[in-house]
Amino acid sequence: MSAVPPVVEPPRAKSQRRQIAALLILALLLAITLAGGIAYQHGVLTTRSQVYFLADDATGLSPGTPVRMSGFRIGKIAAMHLQPDLSVKVVLAIETEPFSHLKTDARAEVVREQLRPAAIDLRPGSAEQSLSEDDPHVGFRKRGTLTEIAEDLRTRLAPILDDVKQLTGTARARKGDIDAMLEHAHAVTRELAGATQEMHALTLDLRNRVARLGTQGESVLGEANRSVVRLGNLIGQADKSLDAVNTRLPGMLGKADNALTSLDAVLRDARTISSSAAKGVPELMRSTAPLIDDSRETMQGLRESWPLRSMLPAPPPAALPIDSHDPAALHGSAPR
């Protein structure tokens, strides 16, 4: 057997093989870098935690919807599961570091702005306890769109506007009353201002009076003190006087007893006289009027009888004469 001589490759071929190998390696490196970048972009290289919330419906939500916290993207919707009660469990995959900020009252809000895709805004909450890693359930609130907000506003404002319209109409119809009320209120305000001024003046006056009373009270108290001293002296004198009275009183009482006995006898006599007079005086008084009438008749008869009639002066006429000098205008000094 014969030996096959080695094939000698030309130098150009070797160079081309090296260049191809280098290109393949470079391509592989680029592919690996691209794959790493994509994986990084998809969070393959980052550590993730999961939280979830339950929503009535998942309108506008889909896996991959971004999750933000304080405006920064921290994750996305990882999965959505329909629950037996037709609610939707939405699982969020977020970075581990933001998860540590979540509290037990953390909540997720769906934000839908008109021209931007929906996003979930994660609010960390303010409770003291951190969110449990075993059951990372956060609350959910669905923030309305502008249309929903407008509808809500319309629903709320419509009755208010109706009431305002009705009130305006009523106010217009009762403008006169309102004007009168305003006028009265104005007058009352003025009176209140006047009353306030009067109260102020009264307060000042009272303050002055109280001050004066205080001064007078001090002087009165001083006078009272002096009076008490004088009273003490008088009590001492009265004590002496009472001693004197005690010694003289028995004799005086004996005399007074005698005097009262005499007075009693006098009163008995007076009562007897009064009772007699009570019977006699009315009779006397009653008989006086006829007596006067009789006397008048007698005097009249005597006056009209002859010869007294001619002796007595004629009685004045019943009618006074009409005299041209009667006017008071003529009673003063004579006209000159």
Partner: protein
Amino acid sequence: MTPRRCTGRRRADARRLGALAALCGALWLAACGSPAGPPQNPAQRNASTLAQAGARSWARGDATQAAALYERALSAAESVEDFELAGAMLLNLALVQGAGGDLAGAQARVDRIVAAPQRYGAPLVARASARKALLYLDAPDLDAALDWTERAQAACAAPCALDATLANLRAHVALQRGDAPAALQWATQGVARADEHGAERANALRLSGQAQRQLGQHDAASSAFAQALAIDRQLGLSERVALDLLGAADNEAARGAAAAAREFYQRALDVYSAAGNVRAADGVRQRLAALGAQR
């Protein structure tokens, strides 16, 4: 005793009996001859007594008591429909109230008479009209006074007892209007129509003297004032005596007899002072002072 002597004694006894019978007869006739008023019922007698008491009160200057008594007399008279006495009381009350300055009240009293002439009669209506005229002098409303003077004259049947009063009233109105000749004419009529010694004659003479003084007839005026003074002194009318003296003084002053004027003024002052009329006395003092200043 002889029969002749016995016959003489019988004749003497018969003469004595005859004289005694004549004396009794004369006394009976005198007693029956005195005028007796118409019989009055108790209410009328009461009213008359009250009216007389009122007149006495008025005479002594107690107007309040006089008014009260006249009111009671009016009530008594009206209780028995004695219109004559009631009318007299209304006139008296008008006089008292008018003198007290209550002219409206006085007019109201008189108007009751004027408004019911069939009830009170023409004489009372004439007196009421005259009273109204006098009240209008105090108003003063001279036209109304003259109007009611004419009504009084029309209602007063002749012979009218108010003739002199009404003439004096016209004379006073004429004097007030400065018409001395007319005043003298009416006052002269008043003198002629008044009683010879009555107060109305003195009033007429006083008015006449005032008119004559204004006409420059000082002697006639002096005579008129003197006659008025004599009458008023006789009647005891103190105030009018003073007025007569004042008139005489003014007359003397007007003709330049200052001493005589002062004498009359002083007499008037004495009369006013004695009567207690302080206000009038002060007026006379002013006249005396003015007279002294003219000297």
